[in-house]
């Protein structure tokens, strides 16, 4: 392997932690009292407290999963403060922002009015973002869409939250989902009523309003009959957080003919070149295609976090429902990713597509782990999976663990996986056309990931393309 590529991938993480914590941290530890305290602090109704306590009691009986292909020191769950809400100190103006960070925004092409919000500047100092947000909110309210934080939803729309919360990811689903159900502090709630097509990508609004996502985030999206929505979580800009463990839960519910598209771009702090620090991202994401002809599509671009452990899944319950999963996971240095999807076919003529692209560099380890399960009643179910891996450097690992379980003879399931590398001859070809190494690598990788990027909303596709380039950027020589 030439040193060119080695250099390309060894670009240092450009920004340290810039957040100064205005401390609102309570004593560490987890007990029923802590949960009652969280619930009381948030003024929650009795049923939600019960929900939390049930989850907690279940969690106590569970063991931390050991099957993922990731290594990390044991987490002391009593050494975490469960209702601290650290708020980054607001900067007064854009001038106080780290110029490096601004350069990153420039490179990523983040719109001007969003940069301030992302950099942690008190937005109203510069832009009249309140009015921007209000405009969005009005526009959504006109068509009957509810989009707010989950705490607000508990207060304003308790019947909806109660009906759907935990209906896709039950409180005792897995270790981290149970933990999240017990102690989640905030997140988003989105409800699209019957027949409504959401007039905008919910991403834009989201990016301005909820950049301070909590450690135990809870998201719930419900699309009623014939509704459709496209939602984008996270953003391409690097995200700093002092909480090392993140255990989020995302639940999607699609009723008859509903269509939910959920896109994620994740670029959390991944630790330094020696693998010190970085965020543990242990997420449970699941969508339920409850109604006939419904569709749930997951798209993810995972580039950050020291450890990523997530499997956005689709439960295809309604007949003719469709599940999709498009993923790009890039790991560098000592990052570890164990990610993939689960497609559970229950209804007749259900279809699913899985396209996963893993890129490993440095000393990182990147695993695809997926399950395709065709139930005995899923007549005519169809799945196509493709998992490609690319290795950059000889010290990294790429693994594929696809589980295929078929209980119906009319099902058709196909799985393909390949592993390859960027060839010297490919680079030579680019060079002979006058294209530098760095750009060539970037182009090859973008070609490799094209099928996934095509699924992203337009502006994020552009940003994601640049993000991968940035992550692998380095001095050529």
């Amino acid at each position: 392997m030439s040193t060119v590529l080695e250099n390309l991938v060894n670009q240092p993480y450009k920004h340290g932690f810039v957040t100064e914590i205005e401390s609102d941290v309570a004593p560490k530890g987890l007990s029923e009292d802590t949960i009652r305290l969280i619930s009381a602090k948030k003024n929650e109704p009795e049923w939600l407290l019960e929900f939390r306590l049930n989850a907690y009691r279940h969690w106590l009986t569970m063991a931390e999963p050991t099957w993922p292909n990731v290594r990390y020191p044991k987490i002391d769950f009593q050494n975490i403060s469960y209702y601290s809400a650290p708020k980054p100190k607001k900067l007064k103006s854009m001038d106080e922002v780290d110029p490096e960070l601004l350069r990153t925004f420039e490179k990523l092409g983040v719109p001007m009015n969003e940069r301030a919000a992302l950099a942690g500047v008190a937005v109203d100092v510069i832009f009249d973002s309140v009015s921007v947000a209000t405009t969005y909110k009005q526009k959504l309210a006109e068509v009957g869409i509810i989009f707010c934080s989950i705490s607000e939803a508990v207060r304003e729309h308790p019947e909806l939250v109660r009906k759907y919360l935990g209906s896709v990811v039950p409180t005792g689903d897995n270790f981290y989902a149970a933990l999240n159900s017990a102690v989640f502090t905030d997140g988003s709630f989105c409800f699209i009523p019957k027949g409504v097509k959401c007039p905008m990508e919910l991403s834009t609004y989201f990016r301005i309003n909820t950049q301070d996502s909590g450690q135990f985030e809870r998201t719930l999206i419900v699309a009623e009959e014939g509704a459709s929505v496209s939602y984008l979580e996270g953003c391409t800009a690097p995200k700093f957080d002092t909480n090392q463990l993140h255990a989020a839960v995302v639940e999607l519910v699609a009723l008859d003919r509903a269509d939910i598209k959920y896109s994620t771009v994740q670029n959390w702090y991944a630790g330094d070149e020696e693998g010190r620090g970085g965020i543990y991202n242990f997420v449970t994401k699941r969508g339920l295609c409850k109604g006939v002809n419904s569709k749930i599509s997951w798209t993810q671009v995972e580039t950050g976090s020291a450890i990523t452990w997530k499997y956005p899944s689709c439960v295809l319950l309604g007949d003719n429902s469709i599940g999709e999963f498009y993923s790009v996971a890039l790991t560098n240095h000592y990052q570890q990713a164990d990610t993939g999807t689960k497609m559970i076919h229950i209804g007749k003529n259900t279809r699913s597509t899985i396209i996963s692209k893993g890129i490993s560099a440095g000393r990182s380890n990147n695993s695809y782990r997926g399950l395709v399960r065709i139930g005995p009643k899923a007549e005519g179910a169809r799945n196509y999976s493709q998992c490609d891996s690319m290795l950059i450097g000889s010290k990294c690992g790429a693994n594929t663990f696809p589980y295929i379980q078929v209980h119906n003879s009319t099902a058709k399931v196909e799985h393909e996986a390949t592993t390859s590398k960027i060839g010297e001859d490919q680079l030579f070809y680019f060079q002979s056309r006058g294209i530098g190494n760095e750009e060539a690598v970037s182009m090859i990788i973008n070609g490799f990931c094209k099928e996934v990027f095509q699924q992203l909303p337009m502006e994020f596709a552009v940003e994601a393309t640049k993000l991968l380039g940035l992550k692998l950027e380095g001095s050529v020589g």
Binding site: M1, W67, I374, P376, S389, L391, I392, G393, S394, K395, C396, G397, A398, N399, T400, F401, P402, Y403, I404, Q405, V406, H407, N408, S409, T410, A411, K412, V413, E414, H415, E416, A417, T418, T419, S420, K421
Partner: protein, 440 residues
């Protein structure tokens, strides 16, 4: 969980192992004692263990199998239908016990030396000590530990340096008594440049439940070539659990054809380790099962050195309420550059109640490699059926023909002519017998 007490089922299985006579070689007794200690410490795998996730062996644990106490007297004619005419050397084990009268060991077979492990324990002790129970690890493997704690006899096949044996060696394991456990054991050593073909054949004259727990070790020296044919045609009530470990030296080659037809529950673990540069392996498997059968195949192709090649095609044809499991792992260690590996898992479901769990895996720690795998599960192709029907074949015969052809691809690669023909007939009969139930 504390493991100070032995699992009652394991204790029952181990009952006979303490009564084994001492072997003439002290090291063998020591190794057996080690295995016994491990077997006592381990528990019976359940579906909560990742390696046994889809294979529930509860039915096996309901019966306390004991080694056969007496040898069933068989005439050559009783096993006549199993004899492979090409093989000049044949070792026959009945219920795990070597029967010289049924075996054929010519005084000077060309190129290959075949004997029982008991005979060799004295004469070739140094060689055995180096390899026996060295390749299939029993530390954390209950069934390998059980087999090793019962290790007394078995088959030894060695091929001298640069010697080639054209005729296959036939190792025939016959089951004749129900509720017995047999612990077949084979060691195959191919010295550098040697070439040989070994047939491991598990057959039954008994319809009842019995338990075969087999372990095979193969050592393939530099540039040597071993062809391994493995036929599992146990009774439909039998339990068959087997492990095979193969180590390949530089430029060695290993070709394996595994055909699984019998047993109520069968499990085969094949681990091939490429420990020398440029070694190659080709692993083909076919499982043809129906009724309530369960056939589980786990394979590991581990590339530890550069320039290795591996090709695998594993097929299953599943009818009735049968259940096929496949877990194929390709492991490319750091530094095993220029590895070229491909793996295919092809599965055909013939009935609405049949099911399949397949998991091809890639674990890759070297960047300059070419690895791919694919898995398909499906039914017969509608267009192919239509084509045959347009040529005047009935629906049933078109289906039978296509199913047969699906399996024949693997059978046709078996390097022993008479076996190939016999298996082709078996597959043809089985696929014919599988008459439509959900088909119109």
């Amino acid at each position: 969980m504390s493991l100070t007490t032995t699992h009652p089922y394991i204790e029952a299985l181990l009952k006979g192992s303490r009564d084994l006579p001492q072997s003439p070689a002290g090291w063998l007794d020591a190794r057996r004692a080690q295995a016994l200690e491990r077997a006592n410490a381990l528990t019976v795998p359940t579906t909560r263990d990742e390696e046994w996730r889809f294979t529930d062996i509860t039915p096996l644990t309901r019966i306390h199998f004991q080694p056969a106490q007496s040898v069933t007297r068989l005439a050559l004619s009783d096993i006549g239908c199993f004899i492979v005419p090409e093989a000049t050397v044949r070792l026959v084990f009945v219920d795990g016990i070597f029967v010289p009268e049924l075996s054929a060991v010519p005084d000077s077979p060309a190129g290959v030396q075949v004997s029982t492990l008991a005979e060799a324990a004295e004469a070739r002790s140094a060689l055995l000590e180096k390899h026996l129970a060295r390749h299939v690890a029993f530390e954390n493997n209950l069934f390998a530990a059980l087999n090793t704690s019962y290790l007394r006899d078995g088959a030894l096949v060695t091929t001298g340096k640069n010697q080639a044996c054209a005729a296959p060696v036939h190792l025939l394991f016959v089951a004749t008594q129900k509720e017995t456990a047999a612990y077949p054991r084979c060691l195959v050593i191919a010295e550098p440049g040697a070439e040989c073909t070994v047939i491991e054949d598990f057959v039954s004259l008994e319809d009842g439940a019995y338990f075969n727990n087999a372990v095979t070790e193969m050592v393939v020296g530099a540039g040597a070539r071993v062809r391994h044919v493995r036929l599992q045609r146990e009774s439909l009530n039998a339990f068959h659990i087997a492990h095979c470990a193969v180590t390949l030296d530089k430029d060695a080659s290993y070709l394996s054809n595994t055909v699984t037809l019998g047993a109520r529950i069968s499990r085969y673990d094949l681990n091939v380790a490429q420990n020398g540069e440029g070694a190659e392996m080709r692993i083909d498997g076919l499982a043809l099962i129906s009724g309530r059968q369960l056939a589980d195949t786990h394979t590991l192709m581990a590339h530890a050195r550069p320039n290795g090649r591996s090709v695998q095609v594993h097929k299953t044809i599943v009818d009735g309420a049968a259940h096929a499991v496949f877990n194929g792992k390709v492991f490319v260690h750091e530094g095993a550059q220029l590895t070229d590996s491909s793996q295919e898992s092809r599965n055909l479901l013939l009935s609405g109640r049949a099911h399949i769990d397949t998991k091809p895996q890639l674990e890759i720690f070297a960047d300059d490699v070419k690895c791919s795998h694919g898995a398909t599960v499906g039914q017969l192709d509608a267009e192919q059926l239509f084509y045959l029907r347009s040529r005047g074949l009935s629906d049933a015969s078109a289906r039978n023909l296509l199913t047969y052809a699906f399996g024949a691809e693997i059978i046709d690669r078996i390097p022993v002519r008479s076996l190939l023909e016999r298996l082709e007939r078996t597959v043809l009969e089985q696929t014919q017998a599988a008459e439509p139930e959900t088909r119109s």
